[in-house]
């Protein structure tokens, strides 16, 4: 949910809206030489019509006519962002901030461009500055929270989502992401509550159903989890991830045949989804169908050569297929890829020295 704003000369932005805000310049307030402002207004109109190249030309001309036109820099940056010209966008935001350092919007816009350039540290700093300048602007808190979440600073992320919700209690995304943060912090009941609130505010926010399901599972409420998965899959049947996750819940329930059905549906929807192949291998292991388990784990490995879990599972299958050397090789490979339990299996299974 990216937010792009265009600035007008006369109105403040409405922070809660996500669409571009456009106002023309009032003729009565224009100075005698109105060339730059007229071009600016023309650029805004073209932006609204999604004629980004034409809008860019207008903002260029406006800035030629008036090089200290901060809002023109800002709007040109917004156009460049839409054109995915992120670096030039950052430069325009820099100009806008040089001319008007106390406005929050260029900070926010620059943060978004920096995020697109994967300059997450800079983006986080700019979101913070935007939030500082305008604390009731929820998206600034929200986006910084998301960045903090991504670098696993869940405590910091939660504080940001709290602030976003203080600024806007109807912000469904913030409820959702705070729920995910709570989940990562292992505050499972609070997470479930927040996902539920997000769904209440925005029932079509379907990932919240999947995430609540996963959280319920982790909290030991397998029945509730399966209800959520079922609800999701009744409403949306083309998501391999959802089938894979419901399959994992069914696996946990001990219903391995039903798990196989879900994983099979997932690979039918997305034959390149390695997780589904691997999980079906795990279910086949439980069903003692070791040949199919070996084949599925092998398929997962062919899709992702670095997939440690699949090597581990294939090792298990090969052990039961009386292929001890191949099993040892797979367990060792799993360990090499980070699943150290592979070495334990190798040690317990007489693999001996490599």
């Amino acid at each position: 949910m990216r937010q792009t704003f265009l600035l007008s000369l006369s109105l403040l932005l409405s922070a809660a809206t996500a669409q571009a805000q456009v106002d023309s310049v009032r003729a009565s307030t224009l100075p005698p030489d109105q060339q730059a402002e007229r071009l600016y207004n023309s650029g805004v109109a073209k932006f609204n019509q999604k004629s980004y190249r034409a809008a860019l030309l207008d903002f260029d001309k406006a800035l030629t006519a008036r090089p200290d036109f901060a809002k023109a820099y800002y709007n040109r940056a917004a156009v460049r962002y839409e054109l995915k010209e992120y670096q030039p966008a950052v430069q325009d935001y820099n100009q806008a901030l040089r001319l008007d350092p106390n406005t929050f919007t260029p900070y926010f816009g620059r943060a978004q461009a920096e995020e697109a350039l994967q300059q997450t540290e800079e983006a986080e700093r700019d979101y913070g500055k935007a939030a500082e300048l305008k604390p009731d602007y929820a998206p600034a808190w929200y986006y910084r929270g998301a960045l903090r979440f991504e670098r696993a600073d869940y405590t910091g992320a939660k504080a940001d989502f709290d602030a976003a919700l203080k600024a806007d209690a109807a912000y469904a995304y913030a409820w959702h992401d705070r729920a995910s943060t709570q989940r990562q912090l292992n505050n499972l009941p609070a997470a479930i509550q927040d996902y539920s609130q997000a769904l209440k505010l925005q029932p079509e926010l379907l990932p919240a159903l999947l995430n609540r399901a996963a959280t319920r599972r982790r909290a030991g409420d397998l029945k509730g989890a399966l209800q959520d998965y079922n609800d999701y899959l009744t409403r949306k049947q083309d998501n391999a991830l959802a089938y894979t996750n419901r399959g994992a819940a069914r696996y946990e329930q001990g219903n391995y045949k039903a798990a196989v059905e879900d994983f099979s549906k997932a690979v039918e929807l997305d034959a390149g989804y390695a997780f589904a192949w691997n999980n079906r291998a795990a279910a086949y292991l439980k069903l003692e169908d070791y040949k199919k388990a070996e084949a599925d784990a092998g398929k997962a490995i062919s899709l992702n050569k670095e997939y440690a879990e699949a090597y581990l599972n294939r090792g298990h299958a090969r052990e039961m297929l009386r292929l001890p050397d191949a099993a040892c090789q797979d367990w060792r490979k799993a360990a090499e890829l980070g699943l150290e339990v592979g070495l334990t299996h190798a040690a317990n299974s007489g693999c001996g020295a490599e």
Binding site: Y142, A146, D177, A248, E252, N278, E309, V341, A347, S349
Partner: protein
């Protein structure tokens, strides 16, 4: 429960209303010859069946012949069932006993007990319990206390079986194959610690003397040997030779981990144990083990401790806790054998003791504890001065029948025992059990799109709890001792020393023909290994095996050197404090050996030298190595060695014996050695 049993019987026997068919002319008047032959078979069978003690297996053949003629006689079915219950194929009894009951519920007063046995042996736990309960005499019935106790025990066994079978032990059970097994009975397997050699008892055709046992009709027992071929195979078995195999019964009981000593069972003096030694490739005639082990009672099973100094054995001598008990005795000691006590021994029988090469894990069979029927195999670990509560090895290793004489490799990966199984080559066969350990949990992956504004999902691995390392904690050191110059195998003494105590804890001999040796080193000790032979310079090795070290096999061939000028010997059991020239106390044994060598060879002159790897500055390395060499010389001088016979030198990293590019290589280069400079 009663209804359940009847329903079960009806289902399994088909017609519920059948009646017993007598062997009479009324029924078989049209086949008088067949009737006559069948009646003759029954008569012959009865002669064996009615003997005291009955000869069930011989009776069985006759009964089965008669059964072909008339399968619907209640008494014959009953007797066949009874015979099968006393054979190697006990589970087969059930179908005949069920048929007998169906033909005539009053076929014999013992029918419910026998049905209980048949069901029990087929692992039909609940149905067996129901039949045992029906077989229980009414309260107040005279002279039935023994039977009541027996039935109560069997009910407990069924309850144990139900629990154990619900959580089977993960194993592969494989027939040892035609190299070992034959159509005749094979049993009593014993193995070397590294599983390179298996010895076992067989009653196959071609046994020594070629005679058969008049009681059983089978050939007399002989001991056979087979060696590992490839990963899974065994060479064609060979008899062990005249010294071991006689015209009578000769059976394996135990084998030292290095395969150089064999324990055999002989039918002397109520059943005794004897010990034979391997000299070169020939086994010597077994020798009696003495009265501290053998008694007028029955000694039937034994196992060496890994140091070869003690023996665990089974005897039913007086003073035990039950039928047969396990004892421990120091072979060269003076004290009496010690009963292992009530944690191990029960009021029932214990049999088939085997001590793992780690020296602390014992496997044995028992009719007590939580057996699921007959003898089950148990495991107990000696820790903190006591034996742990025996743990049943579980289903399918253990069955409702007798499971005895189990041995396990040093790695703990393979066990060997004998069993009657459908894939056998005939009669009882030897099987290899591969232990797979606890179930290895499969691992699932899933991911969730945790951030509403991001497309990229976050991965989650659904891992089961960590799995404990269960590999045996013992290192097997093996190899060949040769003479360096001629490369000929040597019979040498191998001392195993606990360096922290400076104490020889075991001594072994390498085989005089092959030079082979094998030593078990349980973890938790810093070992010095010294290989010595008169006329040769000793060779030392060091194995520091901290507690918890996992199973490993180390092959180390050792070439002993004659005492000649210029010969160098590495002193692997000399230790210094880190970065210092201070001798650690663990070096004492090695220094004493060196002193002894100098004392015994008065003309001997040595240069003691220190060496380092190439880590660190050259000057520093040279200085450190020199100071260390001097520390050894100083020690020897304080012990009375003439200073003039010794020189010292520090060579730093200038004389590497291995590349310094690897950790192992650097370790080899950090050493203290001596060179013979005169003799």
């Amino acid at each position: 429960m009663h209804k359940y049993l009847l329903a079960f019987l009806l289902l399994t026997t088909g017609a519920a209303s059948a009646q017993s068919v007598e062997f009479s002319k009324d029924r078989f008047g049209n086949d008088k010859d067949g009737l006559k032959a069948a009646q003759k078979e029954i008569k012959q069978g009865n002669e064996f069946y009615d003997m005291d003690p009955p000869r069930y297996e011989q009776a069985l053949g006759h009964y089965l012949a008669a059964q072909k003629f008339n399968p619907s006689n209640d008494q014959l079915n009953y007797k066949i069932g009874d015979c099968y219950l006393h054979s190697g194929f006990k589970p087969r009894a059930l179908e005949y006993l069920q048929r007998a009951y169906q033909l005539n519920p009053d076929v014999n007063p013992r029918i419910h007990y026998l049905l209980g046995r048949g069901l029990h042996l087929n692992a039909k736990w609940d149905a067996a319990i129901a039949e045992y309960k029906r077989a229980t005499p009414a309260t107040g019935t005279k002279n039935t206390a023994g039977l009541v106790q027996d039935i109560q025990k069997k009910i407990r066994e069924c309850e144990n079986g139900r629990k154990l079978a619900a959580k089977p032990t993960r194993v592969f059970i494989d027939n040892a194959g035609p190299g070992v097994n034959s159509p005749f009975p094979e049993y009593g397997p014993v193995i070397t610690a590294d599983e390179s050699v298996i010895l076992f008892t067989s009653r196959r055709a071609g046994s020594t003397g070629g005679n058969t046992d008049p009681e059983t009709g089978g050939f007399f027992e002989d001991v056979y040997q087979s060696t590992r071929e490839g990963k899974d195979g065994w060479s064609a078995a060979q008899g062990l030779g005249d010294a071991i195999n006689t015209d009578g019964h000769d059976a394996t009981v135990g084998l030292a981990p290095d395969g150089q000593r064999l324990l055999v069972y002989v039918e002397d003096n109520g059943g005794d144990l004897q010990q034979a030694e391997l000299r070169g490739t020939e086994w010597r005639k077994p020798q009696k083990l003495g009265s501290r082990i053998n008694s007028k009672y029955h000694e039937s099973s034994a196992s060496y401790t890994p140091d070869g100094r003690s023996l665990y054995f089974v005897s039913d001598k007086e003073g035990g806790l039950g039928n047969r008990d396990i004892y421990k005795v120091e072979i060269e000691g003076r004290g009496p054998a010690q009963n292992l006590g009530s944690v191990i021994n029960t009021q029932y029988g214990e049999e088939g003791v085997f001590l793992h090469p780690d020296g602390k894990t014992m496997y044995f069979s028992s009719e007590g504890h939580n057996s699921m029927g007959g003898y089950d195999i148990f495991k107990s670990v000696f820790e903190n001065g006591k034996w742990s509560t025996p743990e049943n090895l579980g289903w399918p290793i253990n069955t409702p029948d007798d499971d005895v004489f189990f041995v396990i490799s040093a790695s703990g990966r393979h066990g060997y025992y004998s069993s009657f199984r459908d894939d056998g080559l005939g009669s009882k066969d030897i099987y290899q059990i591969t232990f797979l350990g606890a179930e290895k949990p499969p691992v699932l992956s899933q991911e969730d799109q945790l951030l509403a504004s991001r497309v990229q999902p976050v991965k989650e691995t659904l891992l089961a709890p960590p799995v404990a390392i269960v590999a045996a904690q013992v290192t097997i050191l093996k190899g060949v001792v040769t003479e360096e110059a001629s490369k000929q195998p040597l019979e040498a003494t191998i001392d195993v020393i606990d360096n922290s105590l400076n104490q020889v804890i075991a001594s072994f001999q390498s085989n005089e023909k092959s030079g082979r040796y094998l030593v078990s080193l349980p973890s938790g000790v810093n070992y010095g290994i010294v290989v010595r032979k008169e006329g040769y310079l000793f060779h030392s090795e060091n194995f520091d095996l901290p507690a918890g070290s996992a199973y490993a096999e180390v092959v180390k061939d050792i070439a002993l050197k004659k005492l000649d000028v210029g010969v160098k010997v590495v002193l692997n059991n000399i230790f210094f404090d880190f970065d210092k020239a201070t001798l650690r106390k663990e070096s004492t044994g090695e220094l004493e050996r060196l002193q002894k060598l100098l004392t015994e060879t008065p003309a001997l002159r040595l240069e003691i030298s220190g060496h380092t790897d190439n880590v660190g500055a050259d000057a520093y390395n040279k200085d450190l190595s020199q100071r260390r060499a001097k520390a050894v010389v100083d020690y020897l001088v304080t012990k009375g060695v003439d200073k003039g016979r010794l020189t010292f030198a520090g060579y730093g990293d200038t004389q590497p014996v291995a590349p310094n590019t690897t950790k192992a290589g650097r370790q080899l280069n950090r050493r203290t050695e001596f060179k013979v400079t005169g003799k």
